[in-house]
Symmetry: C2
Subunit: 386 residues, 2 copies
């Protein structure tokens, strides 16, 4: 039986997630079809992608140059913005691989239209998870996580009931500095922080990985993706990054999803669901060769960003948005050499203390919280590094 290919719209197609998604799609040409490509400012790469995948729609957050115009014309692709792509009739699934707030309105639009959304965008869920979840429940859409940890949890929940979740156990590699003492952490340089042991990522997320803020944000994402309170979310250190996360159920049974660290598997899972494609997009896991998997409890005194993020998730309202905004500013200040690595949580904590939260905020209120927390974080004074 010949199956119709799954028609995928890729938002953020020139970013890391987008490029890996196109790699996955290229491996299974009969099963997937690219119907839309939307990029940020990299129009040269977008032009190449349009030429290769011939989508029906394309868009960039930048002026079109002649190369892109030629590619669009040759492919017969229509220029369509991300909100419109999200609800276009010939899109089966929307992959949101954009970074930052740009992914929010297309995500909401697709969910409101009853569409499945493969979501790789952290900010959307951290800042406005309650709005995303509300759109999903009212519009009949669905969220398929792309992040390896959340994909693991999601896969563990197939065939299970969300109300039978006792605990979500998010695994954390522990970051580049998991074995550093407090003194060594104080002395961390931006160059050190940007050298992540397992994944290749952008500067902001790499620092967030080292501070465990990234893991903290993932706990908030887990709340909204799986409809659980923060009390049911725990973080467990696991340096090998083989067990991508675990779920403990009401009867005490624990399920885990494992694999070599490679984003292409969770991307493919999200695009192919409810099927599993017959081709592994990543190298197979050989447990006997891996030999040992280690687990431990995170040290919140050395990595206070994790506790701050979980506290923001627990408090709710606009706290997560304020926390994420303060983190963005604090990380920028660290990368600029203005503050120490260990000042990042101090800046966030100070911004959160000064924040007045609004319950059940609308988008405007979320963005206002974001702006005021940025201002607060920018002006927090900390000791100048030696």
């Amino acid at each position: 039986m010949e199956q119709a290919p799954i028609r995928v719209a890729v938002l953020g197609s020139t970013g890391s997630i987008g490029r890996q998604a196109l790699d996955v799609i290229s491996q299974l040409p009969g099963r997937f079809q690219v119907v839309a490509l939307a990029a940020g400012r990299n129009t040269a790469e977008l032009a190449r992608q349009v030429a290769a995948f011939k989508p029906a729609y394309a868009w960039a957050d930048a002026p079109r140059d002649s190369a892109l115009d030629s590619a669009l014309e040759a492919a017969g692709a229509r220029w369509l913005d991300m909100d419109a792509i999200a609800v276009a009739a010939d899109v089966d699934i929307l992959l949101v691989g954009t970074a930052g707030a740009a992914g929010l309105t297309p995500t909401l639009a697709a969910l409101n239209a009853g569409r499945p959304v493969a979501i790789a965008n952290k900010e959307v869920l951290v800042m406005a998870g309650h709005l995303v979840r509300r759109a999903m429940l009212s519009g009949g859409g669905s969220l398929r996580p792309v992040d390896s940890e959340h994909s693991a949890i999601w896969q563990c929940l197939w065939g299970e009931e969300d109300h039978e979740i006792r605990r979500i156990l998010l695994t954390a590699s522990g970051g580049a500095f998991r074995d550093f003492d407090q003194r060594a952490l104080d002395a961390v340089t931006p160059a050190q922080a940007l050298d992540h042991p397992t994944w290749k990522m952008g500067a902001k997320i790499t620092v967030d990985s080292a501070s465990l803020m990234n893991k903290g944000m993932e706990t908030i994402e887990a709340m909204w993706l799986f409809g659980v309170p923060m009390e049911k979310v725990e973080v467990v250190l696991h340096r090998e990054s083989i067990v991508h996360s675990l779920v403990e159920f009401s009867d005490g049974s624990v399920k885990a999803q494992l694999g070599v660290p490679d984003m292409r598997l969770p991307i493919q899972c999200a695009l192919a669901y409810p099927e599993r494609m017959p081709v592994p997009p990543a190298p197979p896991l050989d447990l006997a060769t891996v030999g040992a998997l280690h687990f431990g409890a995170p040290d919140l005194s050395r990595f206070p960003c994790l506790a701050l993020a979980m506290e923001a998730g627990r408090r709710g309202g606009t706290y997560p948005a304020a926390m994420a905004a303060a983190d963005e500013v604090a990380v920028a200040r660290f990368l600029a050499g203005e503050v120490r690595f260990t000042d990042i949580p101090r800046i966030i904590e100070s911004a959160m203390e000064r924040h007045t939260s609004t319950a059940e905020p609308d988008l405007e209120t979320v963005l206002a919280a974001d702006a005021s927390a940025r201002e607060a974080a920018a002006t927090v004074s900390v000791r100048v590094p030696a």
Copy 2:
């Protein structure tokens, strides 16, 4: 909403699985109800169980004494044999916790009647797995494994498609002698073999655990429980017995089920399916405290029973029945001090070599293969231990 309790018939109620099942059921009195208890020869224990659980039906493979008669009368329980219990109208699920061939006909009867069967009986699946599977498919019944490894695989398959299984990874603790060299294995005594590190079991299965024959039989059971050829079944050493088994899917994603080693969890899972009960029957898993999980490849040269069993499963026909029968005799000869521990696989191999297999055997043919392999195994001459 008040749910009707799940009505459970427990075959082998005085054995290890049966007693643990009754423990699970006792913890959730509103959710489970014992409607039948069938035992072997331990009528004193059966009488106590009948008095405690007041089943509608009871049976023993032994004459009734006055204590049992009084208990039956007080409970208003009817004497009914296992085949009749298996199809009684007021049974929701049949738990087959009997050892040996006694569990076969009730299992087939329940499956033919479209019933779910929670199966803990190894021999039934090893000897006659093809008959069990055929009864399941034609009668519309279902099999729910109770063994911790197969329960793990089963749980990993909830919400998944059997045809998307790439590999089943059965974990093995490695047995009591996993670190013994060949010379030390030659010198193993029955007393040493009966001291299993993790699980408390009977003598035969404890020796089978030490020789990895038990794991070999589990590979055959996995074939029939999950409808996969032996080529898709692998054994991976995992000394902590925390990861109860894993499944690799067609896209390379691997799922595992974990827990502390405690049979009550898989028993409860099998009885409660498709729900998970709100009460953990076993202590919770604390991965951070466990610290490390180790994996490795089994050494087939030191543990040839594993390879022999997998080869029997690969060949099919009456080979598995002959292999299992030869093992039973070989283990008895070892426990009697007649042959060495390392003679067990030699005896099995010799019996298998002399065996002429029949494809798609009926029950009579299986039992004939069993009898002739027993005879062969009893007469294999091996060097007398020093």
